[in-house]
Symmetry: C2
Subunit: 295 residues, 2 copies
């Protein structure tokens, strides 16, 4: 990882968390507080909520979890969210996905008060993203990508950014951030997806290539312009009998063959991934400040 | 205007209005009703509200105008909007811009109930646009552009659409519609603007080129791919002493020189412009149906 071309997401997220720790200690007031809502015992959900709680504790953010049984109805979950919305001691609320299939995730996310929506998934925060309102909360992955670029001294202004993938949570939100007015935006943005014809002709134009398609090692060296910056959002398991657990994690980019071409690239794991928790903590501090200002 | 390459916005908007008239007459219930709110006596506002009222009347939509004095405060305007939100006899509300500079247009638009927001400018409707929620209201110009394409049998699916201009009301909303999942979306979308370098290299890739930059006749034949579809959203006055009024209206595209190249093109005036009123009426009928369903 000492190759200067490789953007070290672990290092950058640690910098952010260290800065947050100092700010929180300096704030002097009551601790910022985030509540996680988890429905059922999905193992990934349990793992992620634990990890987020651990990070929160390390930097001085108080957290709690409300665990609801697997058979919780949508209305029961919405009532729990309503109560947390009303609870002034809770600054941030995060409803951990995946939810059981009987509950609409969109309904749950849209119920979280927009000013406590530290995950940035409420409809009003997508509206704020469109309106370029800095008071809004941006979802952790796209916000983390912009922060990675910024802290790696990669200018966005005037660059041609190509985003592969049009999911609301990554591709579309990234595109909206990259095209915003201002120094950390102003990119010409192209959005590609499964219906794009001649994909490589477009990806090869990218000064900044952001890939979030969910296809293991899909983007090859033939699809990348020499000197480009490549941000790989993919997390894919591929079978690997040489590993004890039988698989390894790879991104959407053929890292080994693309690396020689690029000016900068994020690895998987250790690139975009670690940024999401750091941004979640940043958003929690922002929610805390909003609550204080409202006092 | 008999050139088959020219997309006749007047004709298409008339078709839409004729269809709406039939639907409204068949609905049997009380008339759909839209209320316009106008602050002050800006001559363009007076003109547009009159025009919208005239069209509404022709197709069986009831309308009224609340005229507020130029010195109305923001709070007074918001109170008027609150009352209209509560008034169950009003299905659609449109706050005519421009508002006096002492009032935030965003605050006013965001106050209109999202389900009465026939102009599609409420923050929640931008969120719904991101979420691809068909229950939302889309602003009249971008929705009108998609409708023009659809009714001109121009497929969007898999095409490369280039949008020049990133305003929320036109460029950004258009881009979000074009990239949506489904047959009337699925385009690869590039968004260009004043910071785009080598603009013509990108516009020349467009199968569908949408121009909303506000620069008279800026897009020349050298910037357009042969066979492209060109949608011109610009409305610019240029001095013309041969006209009685001393000017003529032109678009952002050098129409005369681009026409020979394209497969289809919208004229200015008579292209996108007439569509906006037709979509407003369509949105009003949608708001009316929403109100009835809620009964």
């Amino acid at each position: 990882m000492s190759d200067p071309k490789i953007i070290d997401g672990n290092l950058i997220s640690k910098q952010i968390l260290d800065e947050l720790k100092v700010k929180i200690a300096a704030s002097g007031g009551p601790q910022p507080r985030v509540t996680f809502v988890r429905v059922g015992e999905d193992s990934a959900s349990v793992y992620y909520v634990n990890k987020k709680q651990k990070t929160a504790k390390e930097i001085g953010i108080d957290s709690s979890v409300q665990v609801l049984p697997e058979n919780t109805s949508e209305n029961e979950l919405l009532e729990v969210i309503d109560n947390l919305n009303k609870d002034t001691s809770v600054h941030g609320i995060l409803v951990q996905s995946p939810l059981p299939s009987t509950i609409s995730e969109e309904a749950a996310f849209n119920r979280v008060h927009p000013d406590k929506d530290v995950d940035g998934l409420n409809i009003k925060n997508f509206g704020r993203l469109c309106q370029e309102d800095v008071e809004g909360f941006v979802a952790c992955t796209p916000a983390g990508i912009i922060e990675l670029l910024k802290r790696s001294d990669i200018g966005i202004d005037g660059k041609h950014a190509v985003v592969v993938g049009r999911s609301l949570l990554v591709g579309k939100s990234c595109a909206l951030l990259l095209m915003q007015k201002g120094q950390n935006g102003n990119a010409t943005v192209s959005i590609c997806h499964s219906y794009t014809q001649n994909l490589s002709a477009i990806t090869k134009q990218a000064d900044i290539l952001i890939v979030a398609m969910g296809k293991a090692e899909f983007v090859t060296d033939a699809m990348v312009k020499p000197g480009a910056v490549v941000i790989d959002v993919g997390i894919n398991r591929v079978i690997d009998d040489s590993r004890k657990r039988g698989y390894r994690i790879v991104g959407d980019v053929d890292f080994k063959n693309v690396l020689p071409l690029v000016s900068k690239i994020t690895p998987v794991p250790g690139g975009v991934g670690p940024m999401t928790v750091a941004i979640l903590m940043q958003n929690t501090l922002k929610a805390y400040k909003k609550a204080h200002l409202a006092d």
